[in-house]
Amino acid sequence: MSAVGHDEIHAHDGHDNHDAHDHHHEQTFIEKYIFSLDHKMIAKQYLLTGTLMGIIGIIMSLLFRMQIAWPEESFTIFKILLGDKFAPDGVMRNDIYLALVTIHGTIMVFFVLTAGLSGTFSNLLIPLQIGARDMASGFMNMLSYWMFFISAVIMVCSLFVEAGPASAGWTIYPPLSALPQAIGGSGLGMTLWLVSMAIFIASSLMGSLNYVVTVINLRTKGMSMTRLPLTIWALFVTAVIGIVSFPVLLSAALLLIMDRSFGTSFFLSDIYIAGEVLHYQGGSPVLFEHLFWFLGHPEVYIVILPAMGLVSEIMTSNARKPIFGYRAMIASILAIAFLSTIVWGHHMFISGMNPFLGSVFTFTTLLIAIPSAVKAFNWITTLWRGNLQMNPAMLFSIGFVSTFITGGLTGIILGDSTLDINVHDTYFVVAHFHLVMGISALYGMFAGIYHWFPKLYGRMMNKTLGYIHFWVTAICAYGVFFPMHFVGMAGLPRRYYTNTNFPLFDDLADVNIVITMFALVGAAFQLVFLWNFFYSIFKGKKAIQNPWRANTLEWTTPVEHIHGNWPGEIPEVYRWPYDYSKPGHDDDFVPQTVPMKEGEEELHHS
């Protein structure tokens, strides 16, 4: 199986070039940097685009956090960034607040944590870690990136629409998202949102299909599925979830487009707005909720699984110790993936669907805590009696486990239909999902960037700046999201422009200021990261081939990128990727390419 893949890739190489090996023709600038077919370059393109979108998304969050802390005050920064129309006299408009919340969610979930995280590392690591010369289809890979880029451009363009960008929340529940009469952003802004997302989905599907095919077909000789690094397992399963669930969002988006533009009634019924009855009859917004969350819930695992994979790999190589429970880790990834497709209803306990369904979804949802707990305990045990190398990537990996536990535990509250009644859509939810998928996934992404930067750019990032970045971020992340639990349990609904209309919530004003201060400081320190990142691309210290002394195949490639990854033959794999500190070896790591010694035994079950 693997051997066949090995030959195929040579044939594929020959198709691109005159010779299967080294005699590449000189690539033009456009071939090399823009319409590149090389997975490493495409990974960098994803990373840069994701980073830029991330900057936009985080700035938006700062703007609306300022509005929540100091409601309806005038800020010069609002005037500058939002303009006089969206923020007259520097005071943010109430519908623009909702627009910012909406676009922040959309950008962070889809453009940063789906494309930026999974897109970057799937592209970079899948061929390198399985021992393939490139993706199964380099062309489709390029197409996937450029469609992502177009969708990002459209999303950014929608910010400049006169009536404002989409403002119905990132979940775009109709009728609010369907009727421009209901909110200004549901006009052209929402149309652009839908178009952008449709293109995004197409891009994501092309990427995912490519990842799946590559992992199945192009593994090098000896790279059996049980010798795959956990990163690849996570990215592979992520791609499968994406293929299963994204088409459903596409259909929801298409039906919504039909309702909006062609007068159908899939999601709308019995509506009286702005003094008149609309013609819609027989549709149901609850149907949309089902379709949306059929993607929406797997989506959070699409976000978190790659981070889990990266963290597993980084943690084991920096602990100089095999990952604990390799098989259990794979099993829990598979269990999470399976369960993730049958828990969507926990977003809808009080949507008006049959309460019996609520019971079923409570059951499946709480089940998902089991594989999550297994993973958390396995990571902790991996640290036990290790020899931890505290590189910035390692710190972020430990931080990941910390926020994943803190955020994950409150999922037990929210996944319980009874308890959800009173905390649904409050700040409790905001705290929960930001910690468990927002911050955790970002930590995973940061860890990945620090760890694979030498592979991406051939240089090292400055570790001192990395430490500063981590510690301030770690404190601020808790500072922002921990107090939010209390705000939520006090009954404060999310997506409120100001809380001053409820004297009941007056005592929450101080907490909100604390949260915003932490957010501002935390965001400011991301500049340290950005500086480190961009400076190191050009001026960072030159990296050696295997700076972290890791086992996986990507560190057997030369520092300088070459098309086809390995100058000679593709290396053969003789062992699993986690032989760190194995007794009987001189070094504390044994790369996968090292054959088993005579009489050497596998000390793990596989």
């Binding site: 008006g352 309460p355 640290l383 590189n391 536990i405 500063i468 760190y580």
Partner: protein
């Protein structure tokens, strides 16, 4: 003032970065010669960050305790419905449970990070798997979660499925949502709500009640939600435009309000508004809020602004599903009173059929008047609000 604050913060940040960089550089003085593999953690880095990991554990614990002491009494307080105590006890069981797990796992994670910080002369322990351990931490969550699921489902069934007996004696109330306010309709003497659809909206009949339906004649419309203490209330929720969510936090009650369908939630209110105002935790909360408000009023007076009214406690129904620009101010007062007071209040109200008849009698020309869908929006006219432009958009769309 604000810009000064921003500048101060920025300067302090700059100093913090500078100092931190210096500290880290100082910790690496001895390691500077090892340059073959740059920017990889040295033993000093491992040491410093290992200790910081332990410190971070302290930060998590202290911040948790501080938050609970400082913000712990922001919570909602005594529940005001029959199922409320059950909800609260399930909540506190779950909270205790996850609290214990949080304290333990964070300890293990950070303590292991600290104690196993890397040293050149140390080799990690090769430990790849252990089926017994895996089994233990699979089975423990299974058992604990099974308990939680069972208790949760028991409570859920109690709350969501109202038994037939209770239904017979229940009071049916329609809660009607629109951008951006609430209205209510009581079933009246016959105990049955008349049929309704937005297509019947006309004049004073703002809820679109089918006046041809016999059950509708004695229905009573109101703009404040009054509930009798100790009676089973069954809410029927309708929306005329977009999704809303009827959230009554003090009653531990919430249900989405969906255009095109009727959703339902029921509870028995157990504490009247007056009783709740005497509740010690609520009194403390109100006193604290009033303290804050008078401070704000004093500030406002200094700049010539209007003073804030003192706050008295009331139950609230608030919108908890994003519904448009003024979502943040879509609320209705809820009053719980004893049954006699409630009946008196209700009987003083006009029935819907009488109201419709009356509105048609005096001046026929006024019949075509549009329903005040957006007219009685919020009380805050000073706010930037796009509802006015919305009307014109709607007209354009209408053609």
């Amino acid at each position: 003032m604000t810009s000064l604050l921003v500048i101060v913060v920025l300067v302090l940040l700059g100093i913090a970065i500078w100092q931190l960089t210096k500290i880290f550089h100082l910790t690496q003085v001895g390691a500077a010669t090892y340059n073959e593999n740059p920017e990889v953690a040295t033993d000093r880095d491992n040491n410093v960050n290992g200790y910081l990991m332990f410190g971070f554990l302290g930060f998590i614990y202290i911040f948790t305790i501080y938050s609970m002491m400082k913000w712990g009494d922001l919570l909602l307080g005594t529940p005001a419905s029959e199922h409320g105590p059950q909800y609260d006890s399930l909540m506190s069981i779950s909270m205790w449970l996850i609290g214990v797990v949080q304290v333990l796992t964070q300890f293990l994670l950070h303590y292991f990070s600290f104690i196993n910080r890397g040293r050149k002369d140390r080799k990690a322990f090769y430990y790849a798997d252990n089926d017994k351990l895996e089994f233990i931490w699979t089975i423990i969550p299974v058992i604990v979660l099974a308990g939680l699921i069972l208790y949760g489902l028991y409570a859920w069934t109690n709350i969501m499925f109202i038994d037939e007996e209770a239904k017979e004696d229940a009071i049916y109330v329609e809660v009607y949502a629109k951008q951006f306010n609430w209205e209510v309709r009581y079933a009246g003497k016959d105990g049955k709500l008349g049929k309704a659809n937005v297509r019947y909206i006309e004049g004073v009949n703002t809820l679109g009640v089918d006046m041809g339906d016999a059950n509708a004649q004695d229905d009573i419309q109101a703009s404040e939600l009054h509930l009798p203490k100790g009676k089973q209330i069954i809410f029927k929720f309708r929306s005329q435009d977009v999704l809303h969510s009827a959230y009554m936090p003090h009653f531990r009650a919430q249900m989405n309000v969906v255009p095109g369908m009727v959703t339902q939630f029921g509870f028995v209110p157990t504490v009247t508004t007056d009783e709740m105002r005497q509740d010690p935790s609520i009194m403390k909360k109100v006193a604290h809020i009033n303290e804050l408000r008078s401070k704000k009023s004093a500030e406002a007076a200094a700049t010539g602004g209007a003073a804030l009214e003192p706050y008295t406690f009331d139950y609230l129904l608030l919108c908890n599903k994003i519904c448009g620009a003024s979502h943040y101010n879509m609320q209705m007062k809820v009053v719980v009173e004893d049954e006699a007071t409630f009946n008196k209040w209700l009987s003083a109200k006009q029935t819907l059929s009488a109201a419709v008849k009356e509105s048609k009698q005096p001046a026929a020309p006024a019949a075509g008047e549009a329903a005040p869908a957006t007219a009685k929006d919020s009380t805050n006219t000073a706010k930037p609000d796009s509802t006015a432009t919305k009307m014109t958009v709607a007209q354009v769309i209408k053609k």
